[in-house]
Symmetry: none
Subunit: 74 residues, 3 copies
């Protein structure tokens, strides 16, 4: 078999697709909200951080899992 | 089997899909927010950099993982 | 088995999906921002270049990785 590699990397790669788009949406639309209502910058900023952390966590879970699950049966 | 290759490259490739779109959204919508509220350029710019860094990190994690996880059982 | 090929090429192909869309978003929305606030053309243009470079880099990393990671166990 000439295919090398570790499926765990594919697993992480898949886990990063959604959060990559999602965190981008959080910041992109969040900045637009701040520009629309500048006096609400404080609470909006907080919401951006909260949303970012929750979405980013999904990818980090995939990163942890890639190391946590065994990849050899030996 | 005549298929060669390393699955870790596929893993990174998947990990780059989301951040590729996400960083684009952060900059695209961020620029629009700056255009709407030019006097907020400073904090918005900062938010753009922060969002970019957090999203880009997800792809870099995939890049690191592609080297970190073993791809041969030998 | 008559299927030939190298999985690393698939890996790069996947890595090009996101940045392909992302750079498009950066330029598309960036140009709209310039059209909305023409007097900010300088800094917005700079932001477009910066965002483009950061997104494009993700695809280039996949290109590098396709050569860097071994695809034969010999």
């Amino acid at each position: 078999m000439e295919i090398l590699g570790n499926l765990n990397v594919i697993g992480y790669g898949l886990a990063a697709i959604g959060p990559g788009i999602g965190v981008g949406i959080v910041f992109g639309l969040g900045n637009q909200a701040i520009a629309r209502q500048p006096e609400l910058r404080g609470p909006l900023q907080l919401n951006i951080y909260l949303g970012m952390a929750l979405v980013e966590a999904l990818a980090i879970l995939g990163f942890v899992l890639a190391f946590a699950l065994p990849y050899t049966s030996s």
